[in-house]
C-alpha cells in the first residue's frame, strides 16, 4: 500500500523530479525477482496483493501464464525448448458478483465466487498441466538420452494489463506475481 501511496504522491506535478525517475527505474530493476506465487512442495500457492485484488474488483482483467519448458544444457549454456504457455484470464462479473476464469481462450468461463477459489483452481490446474507435460516429456525417447530438466513458471502477465497500468505494474512489487522457475529432473 505504501508503494501505491508513493505512486500517488509522485503523480503530483510539484513532486515530480528527474531524480525520482531515476529512482523509479532503479526500483523497476530491483523488484524483478520478487515473488508472490510460491511453491509448497509440488503445490502452488497464489497470494494476490491488495493492489491486484483492487484492480480485479475494479474490472481489470488479469492474465496468468503458465509456462512449461524443456530446459537443455550444453557446457555452461542453458536454453529452453518445447515451450508451452497456458493462459488463465480472470475477470469479475459485476452483475452476478462472480469471478470468471477463461482458460486458454475457452468461450465458456469457469465461475468462482471468490478470487481465492479462482487462484486455487489456477494453481491446481497449472500443477496438473505441468504433471501432464512432465509425464509426456519423460516418456519421450529423445529426451531420455539427454540430461535435461523440465521447468514451469506461473506468473501474472504485466504486459497484458491495460496500457495505463503497465508502467506502474513494471516498477511496483505489488504487481510482481511470479513463481519463478521450478525444475524437476527427468527421472522425477
Amino acid at each position: 500500500m505504501s508503494i501505491a501511496k508513493t505512486i500517488k504522491r509522485l503523480s503530483r506535478p510539484h513532486c515530480w523530479q528527474p531524480g525520482t525517475l531515476g529512482l523509479l527505474l532503479l526500483l523497476a530493476f530491483a523488484n524483478v525477482h520478487a515473488q508472490s506465487i510460491e511453491y509448497n512442495g509440488n503445490e502452488i500457492k497464489i497470494a494476490l496483493s491488495e493492489d491486484v485484488q483492487a484492480a480485479i474488483d475494479s474490472g481489470v482483467s488479469l492474465t496468468f501464464e503458465n509456462e512449461l519448458v524443456h530446459s537443455n544444457q550444453w557446457a555452461f549454456f542453458h536454453w529452453h525448448s518445447h515451450e508451452t504457455i497456458h493462459s488463465f484470464v480472470v475477470t469479475r462479473h459485476t452483475l452476478s458478483n462472480r469471478y470468471l476464469l477463461h482458460q486458454d481462450g475457452q468461450v465458456a468461463p469457469r465461475i468462482f465466487s471468490s478470487t481465492r477459489e479462482t487462484m486455487a483452481y489456477i494453481a491446481e490446474t497449472a500443477t496438473g498441466q505441468f504433471s501432464n507435460y512432465h509425464q509426456k516429456w519423460s516418456t519421450d525417447e529423445a529426451s531420455k538420452q539427454t540430461q535435461n530438466s523440465h521447468k514451469m513458471r506461473l506468473r501474472l502477465s504485466k504486459t497484458k494489463l491495460p496500457g495505463p497500468m503497465r508502467l506502474t505494474a513494471f516498477i511496483t512489487s505489488a504487481w510482481d506475481l511470479n513463481s519463478g522457475w521450478k525444475s524437476w529432473q527427468s527421472d522425477q
Partner: protein, 762 residues
C-alpha cells in the same frame, strides 16, 4: 587513451543527434501506447527501458562535455572562458522555457485526466448497473417461482414411475421455456432430466456448493455468463424427501436469458467494468503520462544543452584559433596559418590574420637579416676597437659614455664598468687620478667644435703619462626622414674621443734628439780634444827647456790650463753622452729601504760632519725597479745635498720613505731633505733641465739624469723648500708600473750598464 578517444568519438554531435532523435521517437510512441490497451505491453516495457537508457546516455554525454569544458577552463585554455559563458547563456535560455512548459504540461495533464471522470457519468453508470441488476432480479424471481412450482408438482408425482416422471419434466420444461430441467437425489445422482438440446445426454450438473445450500433448505440461484453475449439463470431448489430414506431431492432449472436482456446486460456490464477500470487506472495513467512526459522533456532538455555545448564550441572555435594565433605571434612564432572553416565574417577575419601573419613573418626575416648584419658590423667594430692601441670613447648626444674600448681602460687604469653610461660631467666629479683628463674631455665636448686636440700629463696608475686627446663630433641621421610625415629628423650629435699615451713616443723622440746631440758632440767636439791636449803637452815638452823665468811659468800655466780645460770638456762630453744615451735595464723586485741603507753606508765616510738620518717605513713594499739606476739617483741626490750643506752650522741630511697612500695607484715616496742653503730662485723652475747649475763647477746634468731615470721608472721628481731653510727632493715611484703597462715597450727598459756615473752638479 583508447577509452578517451572512444568517448570523444561517441560524444560527437552526430551520435548525440542520432540518440536524441531515436529517443524522442521512442518516447512519443510510448506516450501513445500508454493510452491504449492493445497487446503491445512488452514493447512498451522495452521502450521505457530504452528511454531511460537514452536519457542516461545523454546525461553521460552532457557530463563528459561539461567535464571537458571545466578541465579546459581550469587549464586556462584559449576559448574555454568564452565557450563557458556561451554555454551558460544557452543553458539559461533553454532551462527556463523548458521548466515553464514542463510545469504547465503537468498541470494540464492532471486536469485533463481528471476531466475524463465526470461525477454524472459515474452516477449514470452505477444507475444503469442497478437498473440491470433490478431487471435481472425480477427475472430471477420469476424463474424461482416457476422452479418452486415445478418442485411442488414433482413432489406430488414423485411416486410415479420414472418414465412418467421424465415426461412430466419435459412438459414442465417446455411450459416454462427452460433450457434444461433436471432432478437430482440428495447425493447428487441424476434421477431425470430434460434438455432443449436433444443431443445433450448429460445435464449441466451443479457443483457441491449447490447441494450444500440445498441441505440447508435454501434455493440456489446464479446468473451465469455462457458466452460473451449470452447468460443464463441456474436455479436449484430442494424437494423434501419422503421415501427410500432420501432427505431431499433437487430440481435444477436453467433458463437462458432472452437475447435482448442478455445483450443489454452485457453492455451494461462492459460499460461498468470499463468505467471502473478507468477510475482505478486514473492514478497509474497519470503516472505513466508524467513519466513519459518527463522523459521526453528531459531528453529534449538534455539535447538542447548538448546542442548548446556543440554550438558554443563551433562558434568559439574560430575565435579561439585567432586568439591562439595571436598569442603565438606575441610569443614570437610568426607565420602561423589558421584553418579557414567558413566564408562568413570569421572566415574573412581568419584570412586577414593569415595575411598579417605572413607579412609579419617576412618582415621578421628581413629584420633578422638586418640584425645579423648589424651584429656582424658591430662585432667587427668591437674587434677593431679592441685591437686599437689608442683609447676610444664614444659619447651619445647627451654626452653619456657609450663605448669604451679596452685600450682606453688600460691606458687610464680604470674599469670599463666604472665609466660606461656616465656623462663626461659625472666622470669629472669622480675622485680618481684621471679627473683632469675627463675635465679636458668635458670642456672639449662643451666646445662643440668639430675637431679639437689637447695634451695632458697625468700621474696615473702606471705613473706619469702624457696623453694626446683628439675629439670629433659625429653628425648622425643627416639623410633620414620621418617616413610618415616626411619631416627632416634632427641630426644626432655623438662624440668620439681618441687618446694616445705618447709618453714613450716623446721619450723616444727626446732620446733620439739627445742621442743626435751626443753623436755630434762626440764627433765635433770630443774628437779634436785629444789632439788639442796632446799638442798642448807637446808644446810644453818642446818649449819648457827653451824658455825660463816668467815665460816658462806662463808656458806651464797655459799648457796646464789647456790640458785641464780639455779634460773638463771631455768629462762634460762624457756626462752629456751619459745623459743622452737611453738607459736599458730589466726591472726586478727591489727593496728601496735596503738600497737607501747601502747608499747611506757608502757615504758615511765622505759625509764627515754631516748628520745622516734614515726614516724608513717598515711596511714599504718592494717595487719594480732597476737597482743600479736608482742607486745612481740616490748618490747624485746625497752628493748634491752634501754640497748644499757647505758652510752650514749643523748640517744634516734625512732620508724618508713611505707609501703614498693618498694618491690613486700604488706608489712609494722617497724624500731626501737637507738644511742647506736651498735652491736659488732663478733656477728653481729649470732645475731639472740640462746645463742648469748653481755651482761654477759641474756639468749641470746631475739632476737632469735623476729626472730621466725617475721618469724611466714612470715616476716623478720635484723639489720643495724646507722651513726655515733647506731643500727636500721628492721622488714618487710606482710599485708595479713598468711590467704591466710598459712591459711590451722594450725600448723603455733600463740598462744600468749604459748609465755612466753622472756627477752631482747642483
Amino acid at each position: 587513451m583508447a577509452i578517451r578517444s572512444i568517448v570523444k568519438k561517441i560524444s560527437a554531435p552526430l551520435p548525440v543527434i542520432s540518440v536524441c532523435t531515436g529517443l524522442l521517437f521512442a518516447l512519443s510512441y510510448l506516450i501513445i501506447r500508454s493510452l491504449s490497451d492493445d497487446e503491445s505491453g512488452e514493447l512498451q516495457f522495452w521502450i521505457t527501458v530504452i528511454g531511460g537508457l537514452g536519457v542516461a546516455i545523454l546525461v553521460f554525454f552532457l557530463v563528459s562535455n561539461g567535464y571537458a569544458l571545466v578541465s579546459q577552463y581550469r587549464r586556462n585554455e584559449i576559448g574555454s572562458r568564452l565557450t563557458s559563458k556561451m554555454v551558460l547563456i544557452f543553458f539559461f535560455l533553454t532551462v527556463i522555457p523548458f521548466s515553464l512548459i514542463y510545469f504547465f504540461s503537468i498541470q494540464f495533464l492532471n486536469k485533463g485526466v481528471d476531466s475524463w471522470f465526470d461525477v454524472r457519468i459515474e452516477q449514470t453508470v452505477q444507475d444503469s448497473l442497478l437498473l440491470s441488476q433490478s431487471a435481472l432480479e425480477g427475472i430471477k424471481e420469476e424463474v424461482i417461482t416457476d422452479v418452486q412450482k415445478i418442485a411442488n408438482n414433482i413432489r406430488q408425482n414423485q411416486n410415479k414411475p420414472a418414465n412418467e416422471l421424465l415426461d412430466i419434466l419435459k412438459d414442465l420444461r417446455e411450459i416454462n421455456e427452460f433450457t434444461e430441467l433436471s432432478l437430482y437425489t440428495d447425493d447428487g445422482r441424476i434421477l431425470a432430466f430434460s434438455s432443449i438440446d436433444e443431443a445433450n445426454i448429460l445435464p449441466n450438473t451443479p457443483g457441491d456448493e449447490v447441494f450444500t445450500e440445498l441441505r440447508l433448505n435454501q434455493t440456489y440461484t446464479l446468473l451465469e455468463p455462457i458466452s460473451e453475449t449470452m447468460q443464463q439463470f441456474r436455479v436449484v431448489t430442494p424437494i423434501p424427501g419422503n421415501q427410500l430414506g432420501r432427505q431431499f431431492y433437487g430440481v435444477q432449472a436453467i433458463k437462458v436469458l432472452p437475447l435482448r436482456y442478455a445483450t443489454l446486460a452485457s453492455s451494461v456490464e462492459t460499460a461498468n467494468n470499463q468505467y471502473a477500470q478507468m477510475v482505478f487506472a486514473r492514478g497509474p495513467l497519470k503516472f505513466s503520462l508524467i513519466v513519459t512526459l518527463s522523459l521526453i522533456s528531459l531528453a529534449s532538455l538534455l539535447f538542447s544543452m548538448l546542442t548548446a555545448v556543440y554550438l558554443s564550441r563551433r562558434l568559439v572555435a574560430p575565435i579561439s584559433n585567432l586568439a591562439a594565433g595571436t598569442q603565438k605571434i606575441a610569443e614570437g612564432d610568426y607565420g602561423s596559418h589558421l584553418p579557414v572553416t567558413s566564408a562568413d565574417e570569421l572566415g574573412i577575419l581568419t584570412r586577414s590574420f593569415n595575411n598579417m601573419s605572413s607579412k609579419i613573418s617576412q618582415a621578421q626575416q628581413v629584420a633578422l637579416a638586418s640584425q645579423t648584419e648589424t651584429e656582424q658590423q658591430k662585432g667587427y667594430l668591437e674587434a677593431v676597437l679592441t685591437n686599437l692601441s689608442s683609447g676610444v670613447f664614444s659619447f651619445d648626444e647627451s654626452e653619456r659614455l657609450q663605448i669604451c674600448n679596452s685600450a682606453a681602460c688600460e691606458i687610464l687604469g680604470l674599469a670599463q664598468e666604472s665609466l660606461l653610461q656616465k656623462t663626461a660631467a659625472e666622470l669629472c666629479h669622480e675622485d680618481h687620478h684621471a679627473k683632469q683628463f675627463f675635465e679636458l674631455i668635458n670642456s672639449g665636448l662643451k666646445s662643440k667644435q668639430n675637431n679639437w686636440q689637447e695634451e695632458i700629463t697625468l700621474l696615473g696608475t702606471h705613473g706619469r703619462q702624457m696623453l694626446i686627446i683628439r675629439g670629433s663630433v659625429l653628425h648622425l641621421n643627416n639623410d633620414l626622414f620621418a617616413e610618415d610625415s616626411g619631416e627632416v629628423l634632427k641630426p644626432l650629435e655623438n662624440y668620439v674621443v681618441v687618446f694616445d699615451d705618447v709618453t714613450n713616443l716623446i721619450q723616444a723622440q727626446r732620446d733620439a734628439a739627445w742621442g743626435e746631440v751626443a753623436r755630434r758632440l762626440a764627433h765635433e767636439i770630443k774628437n779634436p780634444l785629444t789632439p788639442i791636449q796632446l799638442s798642448a803637452e807637446r808644446i810644453k815638452l818642446k818649449l819648457h827647456d827653451q824658455v825660463e823665468g816668467e815665460l816658462q811659468e806662463t808656458l806651464d800655466r797655459s799648457t796646464r790650463t789647456i790640458v785641464q780645460q780639455v779634460e773638463s770638456m771631455k768629462e762634460m762630453v762624457n756626462a752629456f753622452s751619459s745623459y743622452a744615451q737611453p738607459v736599458r735595464a730589466k726591472l726586478a723586485d727591489l727593496n728601496i729601504n735596503l738600497l737607501v741603507r747601502d747608499v747611506a753606508e757608502l757615504h758615511t765616510s765622505s759625509l764627515q760632519g754631516i748628520k745622516l738620518v734614515l726614516d724608513l717605513s717598515d711596511d714599504l713594499p718592494n717595487i719594480k725597479a732597476n737597482a743600479s739606476a736608482l742607486r745612481q739617483v740616490l748618490n747624485n741626490l746625497i752628493i748634491n745635498a752634501s754640497h748644499a750643506l757647505e758652510d752650514c752650522e749643523a748640517p744634516s741630511i734625512s732620508i724618508h720613505t713611505q707609501t703614498a697612500a693618498k694618491v690613486t695607484g700604488e706608489y712609494i715616496d722617497l724624500v731626501i731633505k737637507d738644511n742647506g742653503s736651498g735652491i736659488p730662485d732663478d733656477i728653481r723652475e729649470s732645475l731639472f733641465d740640462p746645463y742648469v747649475s748653481s755651482k761654477a763647477k759641474g756639468s749641470g746634468l746631475g739632476l737632469a739624469i735623476v729626472k730621466r731615470i725617475v721618469e724611466e721608472h714612470s715616476g716623478s721628481v720635484w723639489t720643495r723648500q724646507v722651513e726655515p731653510q733647506g731643500t727636500a727632493m721628492h721622488l714618487r715611484l710606482p710599485i708595479n708600473a713598468m711590467q704591466t703597462y710598459r712591459g711590451n715597450r722594450r725600448q723603455n727598459s733600463l740598462n744600468s750598464n749604459d748609465v755612466n756615473g753622472a756627477e752631482s752638479d747642483v
